[in-house]
């Protein structure tokens, strides 16, 4: 059981209390000369009271502001070093991270990488450091919040003589009509929005106590932000996919489990006009500057259950123009304009002619990504696509083959069926080259043009953690504002042997508190109390100077 200290005013204080929670009498007699240390009201903090078990020691360690500041500074230094060389995500795409740092920055680069600075924010020791910081924030807050709350709740209006004398602001006034002064003081202080409490011969005016909780609120916000950071490591908390989609195509949006589809109508890129008088000089210097990147799309939702491999029925949701800074948003997803490719081959056009009659039967167009098998003309003329080589080359045996599925160098083998040749003639066609496999073909296919399309590079994101970060940041900011833009001010008045004593304390913002006191003295005729700290500073200085 912990010891209880009974003050002369009768209040029972927990072990470790420095100033009586009720009357403020100093219970530990060290600081006889100096002003009282009013931090946390001189309440009994666990960390200042117990230091026996290992748990006490750990608790005290994390509770210490010295440790806390050290942790903040360590994180700061680590993060600063992390900007000396680029993080791994920012090194050139073709560089090998294993060798990049050594080659570029020599021995420093090697050490940098070995210590994990190349990927700082995922390196184990940095994460541990943040863990310690978080622990410290939690422990320090609990250690102070509970006793501070208790002390402020138990405070009495009437304070001990020594408590009053050793406040930074203290003054006395000799007067016969204290009663009148107290009445006037009450009115004046209420005008200044103080909450006034009275007891026999004593008055306590207080305002802004809630601002004392600001630090604890902001620390909670920080913890929420740290939790959001931890959640990032859990799979499924966020979706981050790339989507390349050509104009005219419709594709399932990756990461949405085939629930949503997107159709790209058009990608466009606009630059500033060279002769724009507004930007002429800058454009002359910089060359061309891009004004917009934009993908015009339609968003669809799949209807009903989709059978694997089958095209689902789509319901249109909306048309939208995705631009940089203007993502498409739906059901928690965001789709961003991130990249583009222009003028990619999309379809090839061919003309079918009769070699003798020099007669044309018309054109047909082959989609390079999903070619059809048959292309029909009037009067029973028909072209059948037998083989398609998107990325054509001759393999080791001299046979036609393809290197990849990307139509970098398309080639085709067609079979042309006509009423007079029902079995058909085969012909081989590649870009710009046109060889009939059997030289004496009756019908000829010629290249009649290339259809190109632009391709939009989109990024699909859904991130549950954003909201947690955001809420944490808001709690943090509210807490900081609560603690910084308001402050806790108290003014004590007491009758003592034909005198009225006045003391005041604030956790910050002495300037405004003094203004309140000045108002009070003007309204009541009390003497202006003195600022004992400033006086001390001036006295010390005079001591030096003389």
């Amino acid at each position: 059981m912990s010891r209880i200290i009974v003050c002369e005013c009768g209040h029972k204080n927990p072990e470790g209390t420095i100033l009586c929670e009720a009357c403020g009498k100093p219970l530990q007699e060290e600081q006889s000369k100096s002003l009282l240390n009013m931090r946390y009201e001189g309440s009994a903090r666990r960390s200042q009271t117990y230091n026996r078990t290992p748990i006490d020691k750990i608790w005290n360690y994390f509770s210490s502001v010295k440790v806390g500041v050290t942790l903040i500074i360590l994180v700061l230094i680590a993060v600063a070093i992390g900007t000396i060389f680029p993080q791994e995500i920012y090194i050139p795409q073709n560089a090998d991270p294993e060798t990049f740092y050594k080659e570029q920055y020599g021995i420093f680069g090697e050490v940098y990488k070995a210590l994990g600075f190349d990927n700082l924010y995922k390196s184990w020791w940095f994460v541990v450091l943040l863990g310690l910081l978080g622990t410290s924030i939690i422990v320090a807050s609990i250690d102070r919040y509970i006793p501070l709350h208790r002390a402020l709740k138990n405070q009495k209006v009437k304070r001990h003589e020594r408590f009053l004398k050793k406040q930074r602001i203290f003054g006395t006034t000799t007067t016969a009509d204290a009663e009148v002064i107290f009445v006037k003081a009450e009115t004046a202080l209420k005008e200044k929005h103080y909450k006034v409490r009275k007891e026999e011969g004593a008055l306590l005016a207080e305002k802004g106590r809630f601002s004392r909780w600001g630090p604890y609120v902001n620390h909670i916000g920080l913890i929420v932000v740290l939790i959001a950071g931890v959640l990032r490591f859990i799979p499924g908390m966020y979706v981050n996919e790339n989507l390349w989609i050509r104009e005219g195509d419709t594709q399932a949006i990756p990461g949405t489990h085939n629930e949503f589809y997107i159709e790209n109508h058009k990608f466009s890129m606009e630059t500033y006009k060279k002769d724009d008088p507004q930007y002429k000089e800058a454009l002359d210097r910089a060359g061309s500057v891009v004004k917009t990147y934009r993908s015009d799309i339609t968003l669809y939702k799949a209807k009903g259950d989709t059978v694997l491999g089958e095209k689902p029925k789509l319901k249109k949701i909306k048309d939208f123009g995705i631009e940089v800074n203007k993502p498409l948003e739906f059901s928690g997803y965001q789709v961003f304009q991130a990249d583009y490719r222009t003028d990619e081959p999309y379809a090839m056009k061919f003309k079918l002619t009769d070699k003798d009659a020099k007669k044309s039967f018309g054109n047909f167009s082959v989609n390079l990504y999903s070619p059809k098998e048959n292309y029909n003309f009037d009067n029973g003329y028909k072209v059948q696509l037998m083989y398609y080589f998107p990325d054509f080359y001759f393999d080791d045996n001299g046979d036609p083959a393809t290197k990849s599925d990307t139509p970098n160098n398309p080639a085709f083998i067609f079979n042309v069926k006509t009423p007079d040749k029902p079995k058909g003639e085969t012909s081989f066609v590649a870009i710009q080259s046109n060889q009939a496999i059997s030289k004496n073909n009756q019908y000829k296919l010629t290249f009649a043009g290339l259809d190109t399309r632009n391709v939009s590079g989109l990024i699909v994101k859904r991130d549950f953690t954003i909201w947690i970060f955001f809420v944490g940041a808001m709690i943090f900011l509210l807490g900081v504002v609560q603690g910084m833009y308001w402050n806790h001010r108290r003014i004590w008045l007491q009758k003592r042997d034909g005198e009225v004593w006045m003391s005041a304390h604030t956790n910050k913002n002495w300037h405004a508190t003094k203004k309140d006191i000045h108002y009070l003295t003007e309204k009541t005729g009390l003497n202006e109390p003195s600022d004992q700290l400033e006086q001390k500073v001036f006295e010390e200085e005079r001591g030096i100077n003389t």
Binding site: L120, W510, E534
Partner: protein
Amino acid sequence: MSMVQISSALLLTAFILYLFGTILFTVSVTGKKFKSKKKASTGSRIGNFAFFIAILGFLAQVGYIFTRWSADGHFPISDMFEYTTFLSVMMILGFIIIYLIYRNNSIGMIALPIAVIVIAYASVFPRDVEPLIPALQSSWLMIHVTTVSLGEGILMLSFVAGLVYLIRVIDQTKRSKRTFWLEAVMIFLVCALGFAVISGIFQAADYSEKFKWVNEKGSEATLEYKMPAIAGPHDGEKISAGFGPLFEAPSWMNGVEAPKKFNTVIWSFISGLIIYGLIRLVLGGRRIGYALNKALRNVNPPLMDEISYRAVAIGFPVFTLGGLVFAAIWAQQAWSRFWGWDPKEVWALITFFFYAAYLHFRLSRGWEGEKSAWLSVIGFVIIMFNLIFVNLVIAGLHSYA
């Protein structure tokens, strides 16, 4: 007159008004020293007038912002010139807020000349009206940058008050580490002025000299120096007539046109040191700190400490809101990630951590007063580092040309 010209004229007006205001504040602070109580009110009357001049300067700068806005077609914060100028406006706004709370003239005496230096520094960068690339076309950009610079402006006032504190309390009768570092801060400020002066001189002379080099993106390019090359590009080749280079810039400087900026930094130090030498001559060989200490005899140190702290208390949440929260919202929209560990982002985070550390240091006894004042100086150095050196040394998304 075109809108651009009007905006430049307004900026110049503000510049002159701040110079004038500096003199008035100095008179109001030093004049009081010799006078009796009755005369002290003259000092505060001059102080009121000085504050009025500062307000006029501020209004001229607000006029600059709006005219420049209309010329740009977007809020004027998209390049170094505009951003730095904007920072000076926000610093003055910070000053106005603090002055309205504390009515303190010595703050004005130091804050206004710093604003003058910042404007002079800004005015050296190219002033062409620039079109915005798509990533910058967002109202969040405007919200983000205005809030960050307001926060930084207020935090810079913490430095101003801290500096006044240090000038006041550091014993200048004998040399010490403290007098040395305080003087180093003065030299740094004079070098910023030196930068503006020397750039102005070479710009007026239309100096130019060209190099062939491999730029930060790894491609061949020409680099035009507007000042004689003391430090040339790494592995560069001079392709025009002109001075130097005496040596080459180190290869690890990776920012946009880094060697040129590095060369400018060297020139700033040279000209800064010359100006500093001249100032010391005028002061009869005494340190600047010594002269200012004499001028600021009547300052109340605990009050300065409180102002310095208060500026952090007010500026810290504003900076956090703009530099981290709004920045993240914008980054999410423009780059699809709200945080990307880009160097400029990281340095905003470092600033945040630093001021958080400042606030916690102050919880311990003995950290109020002089130690806090030195911390506020370090905070200012970090803000300046982010403004000047991150662009110079580190390549990233934010590095303005």
